[in-house]
Structure formats: C-alpha cells, structure tokens
Subunit: 323 residues, 2 copies
Amino acid sequence: MRHVLIGLLIGLTSLSLAAENLPSWNDTASKKAIVEFVEQVTTPGASTFVQPADRIAVFDNDGTLWSEQPMYVQLAFLIDRVKALAPQHPDWQTTQPFKAVLENDMPGVLRSGEQGLLQLLAASHAGMTNVEFRQTVRDWLVSATHPTTDRPYTAMVYQPMLELLDYLRANGFKTYIVSGGGVEFMRAWVQEVYGVPPEQVIGSSLKSTFEVRDGVPAIVRMGEISFVNDKQGKPVAIENHIGKRPVIAVGNSDGDLQMLQWTSAGDGPRLGVIVHHTDGVREFSYDRDSKVGQLDQALGLAPQMGWTVVDMKNDWRVVFPGN
Amino acid sequence: MRHVLIGLLIGLTSLSLAAENLPSWNDTASKKAIVEFVEQVTTPGASTFVQPADRIAVFDNDGTLWSEQPMYVQLAFLIDRVKALAPQHPDWQTTQPFKAVLENDMPGVLRSGEQGLLQLLAASHAGMTNVEFRQTVRDWLVSATHPTTDRPYTAMVYQPMLELLDYLRANGFKTYIVSGGGVEFMRAWVQEVYGVPPEQVIGSSLKSTFEVRDGVPAIVRMGEISFVNDKQGKPVAIENHIGKRPVIAVGNSDGDLQMLQWTSAGDGPRLGVIVHHTDGVREFSYDRDSKVGQLDQALGLAPQMGWTVVDMKNDWRVVFPGN
C-alpha cells in the first residue's frame, strides 16, 4: 500500500512537473507521449535509460519551430535583400532573374530555374564574411514582418516548441537544429530565440574560402552551394556533424522523413514527432498537397513507425508567444 | 599591506593549482604563458574575460596530441587493413597500388599518386557504415603497435597534452579536435583517450549516402573524398562546424598555420600554441625539412604572431603516459 501511495505521489509529481514544463500543450496524447518518453530515458536504472551524453534531439526549423507559410522566411529575406541592393546594380532592372524579383513576378523567378536561384543566392548571400552576413540578417529581422500577420518573423515561432526545447534541455538533452535553411541565416538569431548555440545548428551552406587580405585573415562566402541539408542530406549531415544517432527527431514535412527514419531505426528508445499543420485559423492548414512543407509520405508512414503526430489545432493551447 | 598579502596568497594559490593541473609540464615560459592566458580569460570582471560559451579551444591531432612519426597512424591502419583484406582479393597481388602495399614497397605506393591513394582509401575505409568502420579501427588498435616503440598507438599520446585538455575543460573550455585525419577514424577512440566526444571532432571525410535497405536505413561510406581538413580547410571547417572563432588553437605543423592565423586575428585575447618536436631521444626531432608534419612557415611566423612554441625537450617533464 505504501508503495502504491509513493508511486501515485511520484506519478502526480511528474504529471504536475510536466504540466509546468509544457504549459502551452493541451493534455492530449501528443504531450503524454512526449512526457512519458522523456521519463523513460531519464529514469536511472530503467532499461530504457539513456546516458546524458547520448541525449541528442534534432529539430527541423521551417514549419517545425517557426512558420514557413506562405513562403520560407529565408526566401523573403532573399527578395528583400535583392531589392535593397538593386540601386547599386542598375542592370538588374532589365536582367533575369533580378528583374522578376524587382517586379514581384514570382512565376518569373521560378521560370529562371535552379541557375536563376543560384544567381539570386550569390547576389544576396555571398561575397562577404559570415560575421557581416549574420549582421545583415539581424538588421533585416528588426524591421521585416510576416506578410499575413504583420508580426516580426521571430514572433512567428511556436510557443509550444520553445517549451519543448527547454523541457528537453532541462532533462539533459542537447538540442540541435537540422534544417534545409542556410546555417548562417539561422545562426544570426537562433541562440537568442531558441537558446541553440551556433555549434548546434546544422543547415545548408555555401562554399567559403580562407584568405589573408592585407595581413588580415578572412573567411569569405562564395556564390556556390556546398551542401543541401534536406531529405537524405539530413541524416548524412547529422552523422557527419554529431557522430551520434539522435534519440529524438522532430520535423513537419517529407524533407524530414529520412531524419525520422534514421532516428527511429536506432537501438533502444527513440521518439519521432511530426508537427501537423491543422490549424488554419491560428496558423496555416496544409499537408499532402502543399508546395511549401509538403507532408505526405512521412504522414502516411507515421502510424506504422510509431511517430507522434502533433495536431496543432487540438494539441496546442497557444501557437505563438504572447497570445 | 593586507592587499599585497592577499594578492600574494592568491598568486601562490593559482600557481599551485596550475602545478597540480599540468604536472607533466616543467615550469618554463610555455607553461607560464598558458596558465596566465587561462587566468586572464576566466577571471570575472577582467577586461580579458571570455564568457564560458565562447571558450572554444581547437587542437590538431597528428603530432599535436599523439605521435605522427615515422608515418601517420591512419596510414599504418590503411596498410594493415589492405593486407588483412588481401586474401579476399587475389587480384591485388598483381594490381597497383595494392601490390606495392602488400610488398611493403612505399616508393611504389607513392608513385601511384593521388589516384592510387584514393583506391587504397576506398578499399580500406569505405563500403561499410560508420559504426562498422569505427569497430574495425578499434579492433585494429587493440593489437597494432608503433613500429619503433612497440607501444600501442593510443599509448603514443602526449601526457602533457592530456593534462592541457583536462585543464582547459576544468576552466570551462569546450575542446575540439580539428585534424587532417579522418573524422570517423578519430571518433573510434578519442572519447576514451582524450575525453573528446564525437560531436567535437572535425576531420577529413568521405562522402556517404543514406539508403533504406530491406526497410533498414543505413548511412554507407563511399570511396570518394568529401572534405580535406588541412591548411585553409581548417578555419573553413571550424567556421562551418562551430560557427565561433576559437580562443585557443594548438597545432604542430604548417597544416595548422591557417587555423592559428584565424584564431589569433580575433578580437580580444587569443592563444596560439605550436608543439615543436625537439626531443629526438624521448620522441622524434623534426621541423622545417620533415616530410611528415613539416613545420616551417608557422615556426617562422611564431615570434611576430606571439604564438607560444612548446619545446618538447625542455618544456615537458614526461612525454608519454606511464613514463
């Protein structure tokens, strides 16, 4: 009887601690699955216990930690950056793909294809040091606002996910971002917004070159892609950068499928989480047919893989901070 | 007077603590420079104070943390591995560059050039998962011995450097390895030997591919080089992987020059250290003319850059553990 009482007390305590830790999550199956998993891997002596050194959690960014609709934030930055630089490049008024950007002609931008996108990337993201680039991103974030909500982009992060990051770190997890977005674009702000330090950000990258100019060493960003951190690229980059298989993977689209598969196939307890955008009122509603953040194959595989599908509408008490 | 006494006491205390921390270092200028630097950056309120999050120390491996003479340890592994696999490849008896390896014909191996080395790399380092490769390296390290000392290679690490790694970590530094060696070759043993976890190892790498075979996801090593982490590559890789400029860089050859330059050019206090192989009795004596670990340009620049040049013969009380 005493054991039952103690067990009950422990159960109540951990429930109330969990409630404190994830206050923006409703008490639905998703939260229960996350909290139970974390308790399993952090209970000393349990067969499911995971050493703190192996508690690696990887998070996609676009659509998982912040909004990716109606377009990736980095694409909005690219467009604004090209417009800001246009006065120094009069030829852009008549040259594609720049002309299309300056005329807000998105179909025209798309028609310029991969080659066009690379030209836009080189013009807006390269030819400077990483320090300079991060500052450019920070300066932009101060005034740029989301096209439909008018909020700053850094206020378009998901409050329940901020809490999940904190909750995992409080339980000894090292939290990584593993995103298709540019690694330096993210490093400009993710420490402040997510509490994730630069060395725990994995992303797509441009090539860069080390040179000594007038005796001063500099690393300069080149207008050439080095790595695309999407789909198959994600587990490869995780392996290369971290060298450990994650225990928890959180994503929202088919770009995260391979990262989820890789994580779930590890020995011992593993947690896969998919953020499902079901809330067209408070955020956006999209999945299988979306051009941005398409979630089709991973959603279909979720039941058999045991992945927790977060239903934003029903699982989240609030979506954005300060609401 | 009281302040002078307290100052004296604090001075004595920190000296004795330092003596405890680096017992295999003689009380020469090198140790003094290291200890004074660490005190400068860890004293709260000092203008030279560095926040713990920014305390990044990068170490080369070959010739800096363990011996690289008469040949890189990974090259010894490659040769042994080719020999071990030879019975499964009868054609290697008559095909270069394998024939040269099997006949211990090093000039013949060198004549096969870059293309030959790539073939040897592919045969010995690729076609398996990282988990399998690490196990192969660990199995080899159990029985392989250094050609001139007969010690296991993991006993050819430098005791004073093990103490320096510990001392820096005790002072809040995150210690990284930034080596031209293969990242997975190192991850097989550096946690155990140096206390450096996989996510803090940066090295050269092969391309790898993610695939799902019979429903099981695997990351397989390919026989193609992805990145060579040497010279200009080192600061580029540090920037890409860590995203912060190191506060301390330690190397021993011209392959570390750019990493030292990049580190020293940062704002605020920075420490560059070069291990100079001056001890032909206890280890090996080499620098400007060596084919392995050539130290020429960096040694010449050391005085004007303020880099601490460690004289192994005079600065180290012992070289290897257990001596």
